[in-house]
Each structure stands twice: as C-alpha cells, then as structure tokens.
C-alpha cells in the first residue's frame, strides 16, 4: 500500500441482526439484517480532512466506529498505517488506539460528570502509562492552552457542568489530542454548538490539524459545514458510497442524483437564492431490505430500467472523482 494513505478501507460491511420474537424464531429460520454498512471502499490520506456525509441511516457513523474498531466488521478490511486492524489481538489493538482518537457530537455524554476536566483529559495518559502526577498535569495544561481552554490552571479543577458548551467541546478535543494521535475521527463534532461557536470550533480544528500533523475523518450530515473543512468527501446512502471526490469537484459538479438533491436541499442563507421545488419524493427506505439495483432508484427522478436491476459500481468521471450511477456510466460509453 502506498505510504500516502493513513487508512485504507476495503469491502467493509457491517450487518446487524434484527431482533426476532420467540414466535418468529420458531416459525422461520430466516434471519434479517440491518445492512448499516454494505460494501464500502475508500482511503484516507495522510494529512487530509476526509468527509463522510449522509443522512441518518446512511451508515456514516457505523463506518467511523468500524475504523476505530469500536465495533467489529462483518466483512472487509481496515488497514491503518498498513496494519489490518481486524487481525490485531486485544492488547495490540489497545496500543493502536493511541494513534486514533474520537470526538463525538455530544460533549455532555462523552465527559464523565464526576471527573474534573483536567483529570478527564489526562486519563488516557495514565491508562497508556505515558505520564502521571506532575508530568501528566503539565502535559494536560499544555494541551488545554493549545485548544483555548484558558485559564488552564483554573479550568483544570472544574467539572463538566461548570463549563460552557463551547468549553466542553474544547475539552473533548483536548482529550482526543493529548495522546498525539495520527487520526482523529470526528463524528458531528460541532452539530450541537451554536452558529457562532461552530465557526470557532472549525477554525480551532483546522489550526490543531496543522499544529499536530493530524488527519481527520469528518463525519457529518451538514454539507455546508463540510465545505469549510474537508479536502475530499464521500457521500453515503443506505450503506453505500454513491459519490466520492475532491470537495470542490463534488460540490460544483455533483454527478449522482442523490448528491445533487442533498446539495440542493441545504438551506442557503440568502433570500435572493431561494430554492425551487421539487425535492426527491419520499425518505430513506429501511436498510433491512434495501431496494434492488441502485438503492436510490425508487426516489430517483432520472431512474431507468437498469437502475432497479443492476447495482452501479463506483466509476471515475474525472481524475479522483468517482460516482456509482448508471446515468454516468452509460453516458460515458
């Protein structure tokens, strides 16, 4: 594998078995699965911000959790710096986790309410045996300064509820960075913040990325925000990637009808640019029995006969920009 890729995801699948009642178990042997992630390939390059966008149920969060190996894949491989994560034992995986950290949406939920902020940030240093006592405190104060949790020596002894929402999110960022990871998986890191705080946090994340040579996997439903941080972006729909490419290309010339709809649906803060209907009809169908062929075909305004029969493969439409749509593949023939 090329050294430019920090992460390579190959044929990744995650199927969750659907709970069945006792009677159902007696009557049928057939098991249903939620195909949360259903065959996904992509790579995250060293030093980039790779966006994973989609609506709820698209599988973007599960993909992030698989990369962190917070859940095990049903199929497929995840290579992190060339090592297959699935092949690692528990202890090896634990060591590997130092290099990959997560930031989640809800800073309340990810901070222990009974732990002081400083202790929460420094906890992982102790767990990995990297620092303790005064040394730990020093490293924690340093990272707190860098993420703008100041005055650090005072905030160190505060509890989460004594901080503002923005400060809590900074604490979560500080905790992720204290181990000096290579990869940060940020799942809707700013979705709960107010508009003005969002801009601040985005700016902070970009600055820290330079300072610590980070690579981000940025998972979001908000394409407007993604525009300000991502270098490349993949759009997911029902467990599949439908389009992937450099952000600029995907945004200025989206090829998949779903990507087009998703981009058009974002409310533009300009009353002179009011969107005209229509939007695609309906909502994301159940991932238990996803539609045949292209999963978007029942809602697609441009669906053809082939779309319900054959699943389109990702194909390159211009360098780096790949789309899984029969319209694109058939017109280029």
């Amino acid at each position: 594998m090329s050294n430019a890729n920090l992460v390579e995801v190959q044929g990744l699948k995650k199927w969750f078995p659907v709970q069945r009642s006792f009677v159902e178990r007696l009557v049928t042997r057939q098991r249903d699965f939620v195909r949360a992630v259903d065959g996904v390939d992509f790579e995250i390059r060293r030093g980039e911000v790779f966006g994973l966008a989609g609506e709820s149920g698209s599988g973007k969060t599960t993909t992030g959790r698989l990369i962190l190996r917070l859940t095990d894949p049903t199929e497929g491989r995840i290579l992190f710096q060339g090592t297959d994560l699935a092949a690692l034992g528990e202890e090896e995986m634990r060591q590997m986790r130092r290099h990959m950290q997560a930031i989640f949406q809800d800073p309340y939920a990810s901070l222990n309410p009974r732990m002081k902020i400083g202790d929460a940030i420094g906890h992982s240093l102790e767990i990995f045996g990297l620092a303790k006592g005064e040394e730990k405190r020093g490293q924690v104060l340093d990272i707190m300064e860098r993420v703008g949790l100041t005055p650090a020596s005072i905030l160190y002894d505060k509890y989460p509820h004594q901080l503002s929402g923005g400060q809590r999110q900074r604490a979560v960022i500080a905790r992720a960075l204290v181990l000096r990871p290579d990869l940060v998986v940020a799942d809707e890191p700013i979705a709960m913040a107010d508009v003005s705080v969002r801009a601040l946090l985005l700016d902070l994340m970009l600055r820290l990325k330079e300072e610590f040579n980070l690579t981000y996997l940025f998972i979001t439903h908000d394409l407007a925000t993604a525009k300000y941080i991502c270098n490349r972006i993949a759009v997911m729909y029902l467990g599949k990637i439908v389009e992937v490419g450099p952000l600029r290309q995907v945004y200025t010339s989206p090829q998949h009808p779903y990507t087009q709809a998703l981009l058009a649906a974002v409310p533009v803060p300009d009353p002179k640019a009011r969107r005209k209907p229509p939007m695609p009809k309906g909502e994301i169908p159940s991932p238990i029995n996803p539609p045949s062929g292209c999963r978007f075909h029942p809602r697609c305004p441009a669906a053809m006969g082939i779309c319900s029969q054959e699943e389109p493969k990702l194909a390159e439409v211009e360098p780096e920009h790949r789309v899984a749509c029969h319209l694109v593949t058939s017109s280029s023939v």
């Binding site: 709820s56 601040l200 985005l202 409310p267 300009d270 969107r275 909502e283 994301i284």
Partner: protein, 321 residues
Amino acid sequence: MNEPLVRIRDLTVVYKTRVGLVRAVDRVSLDIYPGEVLGLVGESGCGKSTLGTALLRLVRQPGRIADGEIWFDGRNLLALSEEEMRGLRGARISMIFQDPMTSLNPLQRISDHVVETIRTHKPQISEREARQQAAELIDRLGIMAERLDDYPHQLSGGMRQRVMIGLALALRADLIVADEPTTSLDVIVEAQFLDLLKELQKDFGLTILLITHNIGIVAQLADRVAVMYAAKMVELADVEPLFAGPLHPYTQALLASVPNIRLEGDMLKIMQGSPPDLINPPSGCRFHPRCPHAFDRCAQEEPSLAEVRPGRWVACWLHHT
C-alpha cells in the same frame, strides 16, 4: 400595511433560579401581520423560544410573564382567564414544536387526530364528512392514504410534522407558532417539509411565527426577520434588506458566521466572546463587550429598538441620532 394580528408590547418573562432572577425576555415589542412569515432568530438562550411560549401563555414554572401586553386580534391575552386562553390555543393559535411526538397522542391513529380536530372546529359536521375532509387534507399534505390508520410512532419525523401542519390547517388557525419545526429532520426531508409549508402558506394565507436558530431556513422562508440577543430584540427588518445589509453589529457577526454552501471562499468569520450571563447582563447595550464598534455610550446607556428607516428597526447607538 394592514393591522397587525399580534401586537407584543414590552413583554418581559422571568425565570426564578437559585442564583437570582433571569430575564429570559426583556421588554420585547413585536408586531405580527396577517399572512406573513416572521422569522425569529438568535442563538440558544437568547429568549426566542421563551417568547414563543409566552405568546401562547405556556411559560412553565419557575418562569412567568412578569410584564407587558400581548394583543391578539384585539384582545389582551394576558388579561384572559385560563379557560378562555385554552379556547384560543390550538383553535386560533397552533403550535408546531421540534418533536411532534410530544404533541400527538401515541394511542390515537393519525386519521382520528385529524377527524377529531375537524369536528372540534365544526361540531355540526358528520363523522363521515369529517373523514372525507380528513382524507383530502392528508392527501394535500403528501401523506399516502394508506398511512391514515397508522399510529404516530409508525410515521417518520417528517410525516409527523406534516400531520401537525395538517391539524393547524384543519382548525383554520389564524397563527402558527413553529419552534424549530425542522431541527430533528434530515436535510432532504426538511426541504420537502419547507416546500409544503411554503405552498400551504401561500394557498391559505397562513400567518407563521417561525422560531429557529437556522439562518438558512429563515432566508428561504421568511418575509420579515426579528433578531434576538441576550433577551433583547436587536434588529427587525424585511428579509432581503436584512441579509443584504444587516445594521446591528450582532446581526452582522451572526450572518457572517453562517456557512453558505454557495459562496466561494473557505473561511467563516469568527465572533469573539460568548453570550452574556443573563443573571448579570452587561450594562448599556448587551452586545457591547463583544462589539467591534463599541464606544463609551454603549456601555452606559441601553439603546432602544427604533425605526431608523421605514421598516428597519435596530437597537444600536451607531444608528441612533
């Protein structure tokens, strides 16, 4: 312009907390005209939702309306008995909240919700006629007829919000207060819902108070926009002039920090500082500690909301004479 449907005058809502009295809405005045969509924007804690609940007299303990007047169709709501108020809620003023599950009865089918609402509004109508009307209405909302007998939990969030709009329509409510109606929806479903709302608003001449933190939605839907900061109304204007040239430095900073998917350039403007503690709000203009244009007077005297140009209201010393 015609007579306003709602006139809010010097409305103050306070919350009692352990550390002191918080003025969540502080002497706010606002008119809502029939047939308009008035967008009410601001960040969390600015008082926009409290204003919406006050309008329905639904402020819960430990909060209460401390002062002011709310005139609705010629009556001061604050002088009505609780029973008279109950008659107005739902019937003439409808509410749509972020989570429609809280407003729908989980044990009642969608059709029964609509039929019951129609019959409350028109008691003389027969059950059969009401069912007929309910079916037409549901169709108008883009909900398939076969979903009529579903229970609320069987519908998606977008469908439930459609039902809420349908109930408001069935009642021919004069005013719809919509508080973050699309915040829990995915972006395509949100866009579908906003399209429907826009269409129904036009066809039925609905009056909507749209409370949201989402500046994009306001730009897409509102006729006029009111901006709140720290319990105060700071700016009020028609939507186009407001976005083209916001007057209040807070509105300017707020609009500049909103991501715009269409714009070239990849940096957002950052607003320094954070909103003040409402137990001890700053003196003078509440935005002055964060304002790049603040001068002496801003810290000493509070600017009132004044009409500086026809239809343009702003509470800022830069624009007052």
